[in-house]
């Protein structure tokens, strides 16, 4: 066990799979000698050679094409899309091709691709670097979408994603890369690809969040506890599929729920979670389903980011409103 940042935990997971499986390949823009613009793949080229960890020309659609073609020739590709905003250039590769190919072959060929990509606001990046774009991908049959909120899950999830024979979009939160440390085992372990986790137990209200908003929800739960409101916090971890069992078990206990996301409110992951709850658990609820999300503007100019991204105060206020309903 060692204290590790979120980014180091991902690197440790990548190191593990490169060492375990000689068919794994890491590639993307700047991932080789430079070790990625955030250093997520640092030293991996030195350790495993340029044949396994290599730079690509600067073109995201080409990177996805490589991943699909490499799958067809027996490889297990781990492409990096340098920022999630750049996935738009690879939209056909991800949504039009990769996610559908196993189906197209009637299950006869596998496309075990894990696309790693950083996302998330709060670091004052240039535009198209911080958006939460998961909403485009969770509506894609055939594609799994996961995102860890802490270093322990980051390592275990990235290993599970790569070992999965399904294509997985692995979203890495920029703000979390170096802002938190956890005990992370040096040895191999996995975190299941399709399970949410109760990260704080409580009895009065359920807060469902993912990625950086989990930490905001935990802060809100601390504040609520001061007034003896006991909040249970659930980290979705997987955005497609959604682990509704864990959410429903919590609602059966608390009978109140707030669904939280950093992305804009329109047609998002939170809307899917809320509609599932409404369909299956409405009789267990004592109050309307609360939602916390960013407003439906284009992602904000960096200087005003903190006014726009939902924070623990927003979550606390919504939780009090639903609790007191």
């Amino acid at each position: 066990m060692a204290k590790m940042t979120y980014i180091k935990a991902i690197t440790s997971g990548l190191d593990q799979v490169l060492s375990d499986d000689p068919k794994t390949l890491i590639f993307g823009e700047d991932v080789g000698k430079n070790g990625g613009v955030f250093r997520t793949t640092v030293d991996l080229q030195d350790k495993y050679g340029e044949d396994r960890v290599f730079d690509t020309p600067l073109a995201e659609s080409g990177i996805l094409g490589l991943a699909i073609g490499l799958s067809l020739t027996g490889w297990r590709p781990i492409p990096e899309i340098q920022f999630m905003g750049f996935t738009f250039e690879a939209m056909d590769g991800i949504v039009g091709q990769l996610a559908r190919d196993h189906y197209r072959f009637g299950g006869q060929k596998n496309f075990p691709v894990t696309i790693r990509t950083p996302f998330g606001g709060g670091t004052h990046t240039a535009e198209m670097h911080a958006d939460n774009l998961e909403n485009y991908f969770v509506s894609t049959p055939g594609l799994r979408v996961v995102t860890p909120s802490n270093p322990y899950d980051a390592k275990g999830l990235v290993i599970s994603a790569i070992e999965s024979d399904d294509p997985v979009l692995f979203m890495e939160n920029l703000k979390l890369y170096r802002s938190m440390k956890d005990e992370v085992p040096d040895d191999k372990y996995t975190v299941p690809l399709d399970s949410a986790k109760v990260v704080r137990e409580g009895t009065d209200i359920t807060l469902v969040a993912y990625s950086a908003e989990v930490n905001e929800a935990l802060t809100a739960a601390d504040a609520l506890a001061k007034d003896n409101i006991s909040a249970e916090v659930i980290d979705l971890r997987s955005l497609s599929p959604i682990d509704t069992d864990t959410i429903y078990a919590s609602i059966d206990k608390t009978h109140k729920v707030v669904v939280i996301q950093e992305a804009q409110r329109m047609a998002g992951v939170g809307a899917v979670v809320a509609s599932d709850i409404a369909e299956d658990k409405i009789m267990s609820l004592d109050a309307p389903i609360g939602r916390v999300a960013a407003p439906d503007s284009v992602y904000p100019f960096a200087q005003a980011e903190n006014d726009w991204i939902p924070n623990s105060d927003d979550i606390e206020a919504k939780a009090r409103e639903i609790f007191n309903y």
């Binding site: 073109a59 659609s61 490889w75 196993h102 189906y103 299950g107 049959p141 055939g142 599929p241």
Partner: protein, 371 residues
């Protein structure tokens, strides 16, 4: 700068000469059926030349029979291939079973030659999963998103290189319109950057549905586009099967030897509509425009060469056509006998490990399907 003074660079001259290396299509038999490169033709035995002719008759008959089936409402989407027999059969026959084919939607004949059945081709057209499951695993399904097969080719070629497979290449087709896609450049450029083994075909048949070749680009040739990616390329008379085959064989050899990719532009023509569904070429082209291409027909010129050699007769050809028609009718019966598809199977193929929601839906559909 005053008129007439000398500029530091002569852009007009560059533009006027930049296509020069690329606009000399390789040709062995010209449009009149005259052998213009006897040395190359001499490399082929009569049997080989007869086999080329048989393959073109096969493809032309397949096209005609497919159009009949289409009119009878027995097929779905079909992209007519008449006119492109030399380009398609001349190229695919230069490749080996272990080579990986990435076809587009007009390339069913090459897929069948590379190791699947006519019945599978019909099943693809009808919209049946078995149309994507082939005896030779070294092929992708016909790509619909023009350009996607080009970027995927880069990955297949890189995979072949990393596997250190001997004597193996990737080969891929698109049309003239396909060269305008960003993916076209990305695919050729990635393959070039890694010097991976691939042969990229551009079947320039003059039309991207209704948009003529000249409106795709001001470039005089499509072959010259490859130079920007550091890739050697050539134009070939796509109505001359011997020339197409000879160039394809040379390209395969060059790529398989580890020299990186090649781009080949075949100059051919789409006699028919873009697809069997609703496209009417009389809206955008005249008989006057198309006549020279029909006169340059690949079967006419090969027929002349073989007849002159005394190794081909009309009677022989008529018998072949009847034989092929019977085979295609049998293939259609086979396709029509394919098992009905089940939505529960579609759900099972969506993920390797079904998600909880998908599991539930599988159970729901299985219950419906068992009724």
């Amino acid at each position: 700068m005053a008129n007439g003074s000398k500029q530091i660079v002569d852009f007009a001259k560059i533009k006027a000469t930049m296509a020069d290396p690329y606009k000399h299509p390789v040709q062995v038999i010209n449009g009149d059926g005259k052998v213009v490169d006897p040395d190359t033709l001499a490399k082929y035995s009569d049997d080989q030349l007869v086999d080329f002719m048989k393959k073109m008759v096969w493809e032309r008959t397949l096209h005609e029979q497919t159009m009949n089936f289409s009119r009878q409402g027995r097929l779905g989407f079909y992209a007519p291939t008449a006119g492109e027999e030399a380009s398609e059969m001349g190229s695919v026959t230069a490749f080996k079973e272990q080579d990986f084919l990435l076809p587009a939607y007009r390339d069913l004949p090459q897929m069948i030659q590379h190791g699947t059945t006519v019945a599978k081709g019909f099943l693809w057209s009808k919209g049946h999963v078995e149309g994507n499951q082939h005896e030779n695993p070294n092929m992708m399904f016909p790509q619909i998103i023009i350009g996607a097969q080009y970027v995927e080719t880069a990955g297949v070629a890189l995979g072949i290189q990393k596997n250190k497979d001997e004597d193996r290449v990737a080969f891929v087709y698109t049309g003239d319109g396909g060269t305008s896609q960003g993916d076209w450049y990305e695919g050729v450029n990635f393959t070039s950057a890694y010097q991976a083994p691939a042969v990229f075909f551009v079947q320039n048949n003059g039309w991207a549905i209704s948009v003529p070749r000249k409106k795709q680009t001001a470039a005089e040739t499509l072959a010259q586009k490859a130079v920007a990616m550091g890739v050697p390329s050539v134009q070939v008379d796509g109505m001359d099967i011997v020339a197409v085959h000879e160039v394809s064989k040379a390209a395969r050899e060059y790529a398989a030897a580890g020299n990186g990719p090649v781009v080949i532009e075949t100059l051919t023509y789409r006699y028919g509509a873009h697809s069997s569904a609703g496209d009417d070429p009389s809206r955008y082209r005249t008989d006057e425009e198309t006549k020279p291409w029909f006169d340059a027909d690949p079967l006419i010129r090969m027929r002349k060469v073989l007849t002159d050699k005394g190794v081909w007769s009309q009677d022989q050809e008529d018998k072949l056509v009847e034989q092929y028609k019977d085979e295609f009718k049998d293939a259609m019966k086979e396709a029509e006998a394919a098992p009905a598809q089940k939505v529960s199977d579609f759900l099972k193929w969506t993920y390797n490990v079904p998600t909880p929601a998908v599991k539930k839906q599988i159970a729901e559909f299985e219950a419906k399907e068992s009724k």
